[in-house]
Each structure stands twice: as C-alpha cells, then as structure tokens.
Symmetry: C2
Subunit: 336 residues, 2 copies
C-alpha cells in the first residue's frame, strides 16, 4: 500500500515558504508484531511547527530534514497486530503530515476516543492539545479568580477561543485580540468574550495599549500570550499588580531574530509572574482538562470553529496561511 | 530640639544629582500621647530609593517633593509616651533621612532589636530588609535545590552577598557578578561564592554570556536579578530549562527610559518563571527569614561588609555613589 507524506525539504532562512516542503510517496511496510496501522482523517496544523523547522535552541529537537513534518492526527485503525486496538477504532496520535502511520501499540502514543458526542476533528482542537494548552495555561498558571480580567491574543484561534470561554466559565471578564473585524465579531458574538480588539487597526504599541485600556477598564490580571512582540508590550502596560502571564507562544518571533520585550521592569514594578510552558510536559493534568473540555463541547457550551483544507498536498499552503492568520479557528487538513 | 533632614528638592531628569536634594533644619514638636522619639544611629541607603524619586508607575507612591527622603533607620528611643517603648530601647524603623523621627508607638512601625549578638547596623543589612529580600527571592521564588546553580547580580552588595551565602548553605553552586577585581575577590574568597565575574571586563552581552557559561558550566537554574539590562540578557542565554528568575531590582533602568529584554522568547522555550516581588508585601515570611539570618550572623556564618559615610550631610553623595557601584557591601550613613 502506498503512503503519501509532506517532508521538511529545507530550513527557512526567514519566513517559511512552499519551497521548504516536499511531497513524497513511499511504500508502507507490512505490520510487525504489536504494530497498528492508522489511516489519518484529519491532520492538525499548529504554530509550534514553525519553531520546529528552525535549527535553534528550543524545548524540542528541531524537525529533521527529509522526515515527515511532525503533527497531531486523528484517524481510524485499519489494521492491528496489537490486542489493544481493532480495526475501526478511532484514535488520536502524532501521526505527522502523511496519510498513514504505523505505530507501536504498546508505546502509549495512540489514544482511543469516543465520537458519540464529540466530533472526531474536535480531538485535534477544543478537546485536544490546543484545548488542554488553553486549560493548563489558564487554570495552572494564570489561576483566574472570578471578577478578574483575562486577556488572550489570537483569540479566534484554537487555543485563544478556549482560553476566553474557560475564563468566562470562571466568572472572569474575557478580552481578546484578533486580526480583522470578522474575527472580532465572532469572538464577541459567538464565543461570548466581553471585548475583542482588531490588531489590524493598531500599528504601534501606544495605540494598542490605549485600546486595551478601554477594553479592560479595570486592567488585566491574567494574560495568555500566543504572539509576543508589540501585543505583549501593550498588554504589559495594562497589567495589574500581581498579574500572571502564561507564555504559550510567541509567533511574532518565529521567522527571524529576537523580538525584544520593551519594558521588562514592569514585571518588577507590578510584581508580575511570567511563566513559559509546553503542555506535553504536564501530562498528569490532561485527564482533568480533557474531562472538562469534552463535557463543555458535548453540551454545546464550548464553541469552536474550524478552517479545513482539503487533501494532504494543501497542507504547506494552509500552514503558511495559519502563520499569517489567514485561518479562522482551528486549522485542519482533511485527508479522507 | 532641632532636627536635620535631607528632603527631595526636585525629580531627576535622568541621572540623579546632588541638586535633587536639600538639607533643612526643623524644630521637633513635643511628643503627643502614644508617640515615641527615636534618635537614628544609622541610615540605610538602598537602590529602591532612586525609583521613588521618579514620578512613574511603580509599586509605591513616588517620594513627595519637599518631604524627607524615605529610608530605613536603626536607633534608640530617647523619649517615649507609649508604654511599649522606653528610653534606651534599640529600634529599627523607616525613619527616613533625618536625625530624629517621631513615631506612633501603636502603628507597628518600630521593631525592637537585641544587639547582644548582632550589631545594631546589621539590622539594616544582613538581618534587615536587604537580608530578608535575599531570603524571600531565593527561598520563595527561586526555591533552590541542592546541586543547582544560583546566579546573583550585584554580588558584593547587601542583598547579593546574602543571596549567594544562603544558596551555598542550601548546597548550591553560587555564581555572582560584581564591579571590579577587588569586589570579585571578596565575593569568592570571603563570602565563599564558587565564582564571580567582573562586569567591567565585559562590554557586550556576548562576552558576558560566554564568561557566564564558563562560571556556570551546568547552566543557571536560579537567577536573582538586581540589575537588568545586559546582565539579565546574558543570564537568560544561560538559563536551564525550568529555571526561576526572582526580579528584585533593575538598577540599570532607574535613570531613564525603558531597558528592553533582548530575548523574551527564552522564557517560553526554556519554560522559565520570572517573578517580580517587593519584600514589604510578604511580611508573613519576615520572622522565619530574620530567625535564619540572625542566627547565621550571630554565629559568623553569614558575612557582610559595610561602607559607612559619616554624617547626615554626606547621605546624598553616598547615595549617588551607591547607584554607580562605588560602595562595597551595605551602604550606611552614621549619624551618631
């Protein structure tokens, strides 16, 4: 049986381009004892993948040149030589940018999921890694109290949309920032945020900081950071004393040199806590997070939106679009 | 009875100068019921005072123009109309830059101290606010484990010297940075740090980061930040995953505009925690801290050095020297 893959062809010099990816076809080997063959239905595209394309110091080894791009997948078991899995099982894994993956059933890399009340694709978004990322940063780092104001960048995205809705569920004021009037309207009217700022309407820190002061009149107590750069600078100017900043991503700096933080002394004068995290290092909290997220999605209380690209070959372009904010909600690639 | 004071005459435009201070004489009023008259023996000079001279957003209201400069003092009660204090009692307080202060005995602003085993002046340094500052940032924010490496800037100063010695007492490698070969020799040979870098020998972040990599070959797990700017940038490049940064001061930025942090994304990629604090907001930890610090000083296990200026009139110049690192250890002004 033939497999198709997108591999990393070269590392980006600055902005990633289509030339950094190659489409290849390979023959799938026969399954060994204990192995499981998974056909991927959806591939998840996420900002962290851009950082993996660089050969720089980070929390994970860089993506190897010539290997399939790493990535979360949902799919079904089409052949199994492991007693824990049978044909037809729906599974979440890290199958990468390819149609099929062969997984050692004993390695704990596949998680069987129930699609009775939660759609399969949601296990890559609101009830998957992005949802748990939102939950961990909000619940374990920001630790919001009712009445506080929580701010999140990339508010219409897979992580940001969950941060705001989870904050609202905890009695907080939720304020977001997103790119464009459409996304902002969605964030407020459908996701239920109290306010959303269109970053395209603000070209400098001062203007953005003033808009934030209006959207968060009592200041910001918790900031869930996905972007860095000017957005973080503007947020810092609005942080209340004893505020908490969960550092989840800094997409503004993934393409090139360092993006400085303008006023680190605010961390001191406002006695802030800023903490970076990567959700895969906190697996002990996933069951609790997935339980809350799954229940909220199944009962319609946690809303999300998906941008779905069709076919594996569309993945590179969809990914580059994600980095530029062209997606609207969780970016997926449909493979089946 | 006549009092003498140094008051804030004007706010610095950039670097503070002698013109920002005025020397004034006033008449002391008679004591009211419940009041205590304290004669100050020593005045403490500390970097935080520089920030109070600015009219900017910070953790404390700015110092008022025309009012005596704020500051910690040790002295003795010379007259008391409060039953809890009697003439001759040695007390620590926030008497400010003046010879005498009149304090409401019931307000909890004076702390009686025992000078049997600890010299009076030490209650402004190793067994006072600077010592507790070191203790809180190290013990409660950095939370060092034996075998880890702890770094502190301004290592020969009142706070830094205590940070390193407390870290050594907890089985850590202690690395400091100080200005000049004399201070570095003192930090290593007398205070017992494992290494000390002379910042005067390094003019850019790259050079300093390389020196740090040599002094902390296993990387830095805990950073106690007193300086900010280039020192913090260089430290960030050497922080280990899951490192902790206690933000105590950023003296490099007190004179002017913002001093940026070059690579905030290291907070994310190394999953660091950075937390600002001000020790007066954590009074519940003072008894535990003072107990450890007092015992260590009384038994000769916590060493410190003092720079003592003579007479109230010398305070402004001694303070400006402190901001330039001309002091060696705790800067005091002797008033009696």
């Amino acid at each position: 049986m033939r497999n198709q893959q997108i591999v990393l062809a070269s590392r980006p010099a600055a902005e990633a381009t289509l030339d950094n990816f190659s489409f290849v076809e390979t023959e799938l080997p026969a399954l060994g004892d204990g192995q499981v063959l998974v056909r991927h239905h959806y591939l998840s595209l996420d900002p962290y993948m851009r950082m993996r394309m660089n050969d720089s110091k980070s929390y994970a080894a860089p993506q190897a040149i010539g290997a399939p791009m790493i990535g979360g997948t949902v799919g079904e078991v089409v052949e199994s030589r492991h007693p824990g899995y049978k044909t037809g099982d729906k599974v979440v894994g890290m199958g990468g940018w390819q149609l099929f993956s062969i997984v050692d059933g004993a390695a704990g890399l596949l998680r069987k999921v129930d699609t009775t009340h939660v759609p399969l694709s949601a296990y890559l978004g609101a009830v998957g890694m992005p949802g748990v990322t939102a939950w961990y940063g909000l619940v374990k780092i920001i630790e919001p109290k009712a009445g506080e104001t929580v701010f999140v960048s990339a508010a219409s995205g897979a992580v940001g949309s969950a941060v705001g809705q989870l904050a609202k569920a905890r009695g907080c004021r939720a304020v977001g920032i997103a790119g464009g009037a459409d996304k902002c309207a969605y964030v407020v009217n459908e996701l239920g945020f109290d306010a959303c700022i269109d970053h395209k309407a603000h070209r400098d820190t001062k203007s953005l900081a003033a808009a934030l002061a209006e959207a968060a009149p009592k200041g910001i107590d918790g900031n869930f950071e996905n972007v860095g750069g000017m957005v973080l600078d503007a947020v810092m100017l609005n942080m209340n004393a004893f505020g908490r900043i969960a550092l989840c991503g800094m997409i503004s700096g993934y393409d090139g040199g360092p993006v400085p933080l303008a006023e680190p002394r605010l961390l001191l004068t406002q006695r802030l806590k800023a903490q970076g995290f990567i959700v895969s290092e906190h697996m002990q909290h996933w069951p609790e997070a997935l339980k809350e997220l799954g229940t909220l999605v199944a009962t319609g209380k946690l809303k999300y939106r998906e941008s779905i690209a069709q076919g594996l070959a569309s993945a590179p372009e969809a990914f580059l679009g994600l980095l530029k904010g062209r997606n609207f909600g969780k970016q997926l690639v449909k493979l089946v």
